[in-house]
Amino acid sequence: MTTRFRCGDQVRTRAQNPEGHTRLPRYLCDRRGTVEMIHGLFALPDDRALGASLSTGRQETLYTVVFEGREVWRERSAEPLFVSADLWDSYLEPEPAR
């Protein structure tokens, strides 16, 4: 798995809810954010939860992705707010810049 994104890239979190474990919080599903920091390879928890060891499970690049409150909560959030989460590469898709 390569490092598909660079700092400053616009990304969209994946929309589907997987059958197994994920560390993509539901409130951040299908939301547009910006890659802020790249942390290198980390074991993918989705595989680890199925019993994969650190060597047999997938390793993916981990990013800090920052989201604007209005993007996350739509009209339910009035206050200016930024929320970030640390997300694995396969949780993200490229998003055309606006």
Binding site: P25, F42, L62, S77, E79, V83, S84, L87
Partner: protein, 211 residues
């Protein structure tokens, strides 16, 4: 109506913690029965864990950053290297990557783990119960100003709130702003001003009001 909702919520949490306690008890009994773990080993592990948290290094880290600008820069760039400089060990079960995030006059940072209760125990000490509560975890990412106000922290509207959700093997610590009236204070006295809540971002550092 909202009172009724709160009642339901409380019952749910109690049920969850009771069931967790019985599951932990069952797991320990199985581990002992199979000879994988003895009660003495378990006690020793818990004691080592708690001893580590009694020497929480967070306040010392912040005080050094307040008085030593090059150290502050190193802390923000590579927090684990800064910990090594002070001889603070934050690994417990495994090596953990730390990131320090700095409060400024423009940005106030708050830490949460919405998925469970991830928390840099060896830097901050044992986590408070509210940090693990569904109320804190679900509300602070949505209405942080209201949550902070309930902690007694009124933020100026010109300050942006940035919430860090600890969803991976990274831990966060807030580098609070140094109180204005602390020029010339000793490092150990400065460290005493650094509260747990300031390191989570639900508080700020202030000198003790006298008189």
């Amino acid at each position: 109506m909202s009172h009724h909702h709160d009642d339901d919520h409380d019952h749910g949490e109690h049920r969850e913690s009771a069931s967790m306690a019985s599951r932990v008890g069952a797991l320990i009994a199985k581990l002992e029965a199979k000879g994988i773990l003895s009660e003495a080993e378990l006690d020793a592990a818990v004691e080592a864990f708690l001893m580590n948290t009694q020497h929480a290094g967070g306040p010392a880290l912040v005080a050094r950053a307040w008085i030593d600008q090059p150290f502050r820069a190193r802390l923000l760039a590579d927090a684990n290297a800064a910990l090594d400089e002070l001889g603070i060990d934050m690994s417990h079960w495994a090596k953990v990557k730390l990131r320090a995030v700095e409060n400024t006059e423009r940005v106030h940072n708050v830490i949460v783990c919405t998925l469970c209760s991830c928390y840099p125990v060896s830097l901050l000490g044992p986590s408070p119960t509210w940090y693990k509560s569904l109320a804190y975890r679900s509300r602070v990412v949505r209405e942080p100003r209201a949550v902070l106000a309930e902690f007694g922290l009124q933020l100026d509207s010109s300050i942006d709130v940035r919430v860090w959700d600890s969803t991976a093997e990274l831990r966060y610590i807030v580098l609070p702003r140094r109180p204005a009236d602390t020029d010339g204070m000793k490092e150990t006295d400065l460290a005493a001003l650094v509260t747990r809540d300031a390191l989570i971002g639900t508080g700020v550092c202030a000198t003790v009001q006298r008189g």
